[in-house]
Subunit: 437 residues, 2 copies
């Protein structure tokens, strides 16, 4: 089926960052076939499905490059605690009791939220990943999935986890018509012994998939790395050969100029998680410096337990606002740069720049149509400024992934949201023993 | 008419910060008559209007303590510029051409946005304030209004502006059934000569209204104050007797510990504007220190030209997140504190703690009903956490001001939104010569 959306302002996020007034986007079999001015009436008649989007803005589907989707089940369960108490007393004891069922419904809750807020691709690092992959398959979202591996355990458990991660990466790579890709994920330098990281990276090389790892989220883990290994985490990972593979690191809050140079030199991609970093009081990542050195900086929400939502419009705005205030430079992270971080840089960060992240002929048809009628959209001076500084996720009217309509007028067409609410609430109450409001 | 909303989680924001599960709020003639558990069916029958709000959360109407509403006409007109270029080349030349008509439609656009996003009271400092006051009267919102006075002008203009500000403050004080109160507003220490500030403060004393003033928004104006007057702005204003009047200062970004002590000693109220301060790269206000010293810190959006929306849910979340990350203290500005900043501390900041800012019997019936069905609200562990960390303004289902229903299901009942969009767009295009998207 050939679909055309016309009469819209198209934010392409292509290399020239073209914004097309009264533009149109067409796609067929999941692939974008046209991006340009609105065709005349006669040309429009050649399409099977024609959508008059006048007044709307179309942008590429947003890309969330760091998430632990299933933790949506713990959203708001504990906040405003010192990090270690939050982790050790609240998160870890409950996560240890997570079964496949928790991951199934927790990640489905997260996917419903992501789709409805315009996210069409997400990176997920967690356990029971078959459940997440099946949800991705069924809901129509795109995902880059990895079984996160923590290596602080006996050797036989290490081996079992690594085998599981490899089997998962192999089995699901390219699944769901290519919507699923996979990575290998040593959890972090402070949770994986060096030799184990080496093994995981070797497996990534063998499978030819990228590596995803947490890096320097807190000052404490950097100090620990220096204490344990005599070097800071970036040099540590470099020596372990991690950066010889395509690598996406999450957080990258505490970096020296030398570390930024190493990341740049190796083409390491960064997932910046401003909401989570602020909420957990981890600090403020040196994003303007990273961008200035040519490092790809994308955006992630981290989990809903530390955010507490999965809304990339918020992360875009935070990224654009935070670094201006923090560096007292009003030119830090302009609107267009923040929008790129959520789109084309996100595609870069998951090594799929040729497939997603911008509206260009030949790319997959992942796109979001925004309604611009609300007061906060007026006057209509600059669509890019408004998307970043004024819009809300509730402005999302339609979401397409691979050319398939998955959200329409605030309703997710591929998920039984009432069932998800019911199951998530049931599991949350059972797991925590709390009565819900 | 006696109205009852039952079956809701009530966040009272009272002194004990009570949160009532399966609660109810009733009001009559604009005054809250009941806050407590849901009455039984028989008791419910005594009300004229009974609303089943099951699954919803009710909180006090939000209070925006610093705004220049009419500047909504310049939302997104210019961003990502150095502050002085933004002001001198973009904002001021256009604002100089603002007529009463621009203020009428610009402020109405802003009021529509504020009401729909749960704001029931706003502080406004601008020119052509009769237009704003009439809009407040007609739309049903509550407001604290002042004619902002810049004194860098010939003496006769100074005198005329002061007379206008006094006449406005006198004429509209207590208008619209008490929904409008007024203040006197010397714009800032750097835009008003000292003697002129004294005159304005004397007028405030004569009229018995509070003073509203910008304070130490940028490092540059602090330096200028030291250069021009030999002291920093807080000591400067103290010496001029400003703080002998009830005073609300906006921004308060650049403060020493000594200045914080002076503000605390004089009961000066602060309007914290995190979104605007970040966007204009002004810096990050020392909010945790202010709160620790007992200073009332409320929340403001500033204008939509520097924010770029008027959404207090965003400011609440920013206030809760930003200071944690900036101070690397996860206990800085907990969720409840951020919610108080947007409600009861806001009432304090406008010297109306006895009338608004919390849901308590005898207070004016300004309240917001939130829909909690969206995925980002699940699981339902903690309503306060969710309001601050996960909610969006689009969750607002109903807004009452003075007991009058002004927003229902995302529609503002007291404003012709289509007309506002039309007029705002027309004026914006004429004013700027730009074609809108």
């Amino acid at each position: 089926m050939k679909t055309l959306i016309y009469g819209v302002t198209v934010i392409t996020a292509n290399a020239a960052f073209d914004v097309i007034p009264n533009g149109a986007v067409a796609f067929e079999n999941g692939v974008i076939t046209y991006v340009g001015p609105t065709p005349d009436e006669k040309a429009r008649a050649a399409y099977d499905e024609v959508l008059d989007g006048r007044g709307g803005v179309v942008l590429p589907g947003l890309i969330n490059t760091h998430c632990h989707a299933a933790m949506a089940l713990l959203r708001g369960y504990a906040d405003d605690l010192p990090l270690q108490a939050w982790l050790e007393e609240k998160m870890w004891p409950l996560e240890a009791r997570f079964t496949a069922e928790h991951v199934r419904w927790g990640s489905l809750l997260a996917i419903a939220e992501m789709l409805k807020t315009g996210t069409t691709t997400f990176v997920d690092m967690y356990d029971h990943m078959d459940e997440v992959a099946r949800n991705v398959e069924e809901t129509g979202i795109r995902a880059v999935l990895c079984r996160g591996v923590i290596g602080l355990c006996p050797r036989e458990v290490q081996v079992a986890k690594l085998e599981e991660a490899k089997a998962f990466a192999r089995a699901w790579r390219g699944a769901a018509d290519g919507r699923i890709t996979t990575m290998m994920a040593p959890h972090a330098p402070y949770t994986c012994p060096p030799d184990y990281i080496r093994e995981i990276v070797d497996a990534a090389a063998e499978l030819d998939v990228p590596v995803h790892i947490h890096l320097s989220e807190t000052a404490r883990e950097v100090e620990q790395n220096v204490r344990d290994y005599g070097v800071r985490p970036v040099e540590h990972l470099r020596r372990l050969g991690v950066f010889d593979r395509p690598t996406l690191v999450a957080h990258a809050v505490h970096l020296t100029d030398e570390e930024i140079a190493i990341l740049a030199e190796h083409g390491v991609k960064v997932s910046h998680n401003p909401g989570s970093n602020l909420k957990l009081a981890s600090g403020i990542a040196p994003v303007p410096k990273l961008l200035a050195k040519g490092v790809t900086v994308s955006l992630g929400t981290d989990s809903a337990a530390s955010n507490n939502n999965l809304d990339l419009f918020e992360e875009m705005r935070l990224a654009a606002l935070l670094h201006k205030g923090h560096t007292q430079d009003p030119l830090a992270v302009p609107a267009a740069e923040a929008l790129k971080m959520a789109t084309i840089y996100g595609a870069d960060a998951v090594f799929q720049r040729d497939r997603i992240g911008s509206l260009e002929v030949g790319k997959r048809a992942d796109l979001v149509l925004l309604d611009t009628r609300a007061p906060h959209w007026h006057p209509h001076y600059d669509p890019v400024s408004h998307v970043v500084y004024a819009a809300r996720a509730s402005d999302v009217r339609r979401v397409y992934v691979d050319g398939r309509l998955v959200v329409e007028n605030g309703v997710c067409l591929t998920i039984d949201e009432e069932r998800v609410r019911y199951e998530a609430s049931r599991l949350a109450a059972e797991l925590t023993g709390r009565s819900l409001f």
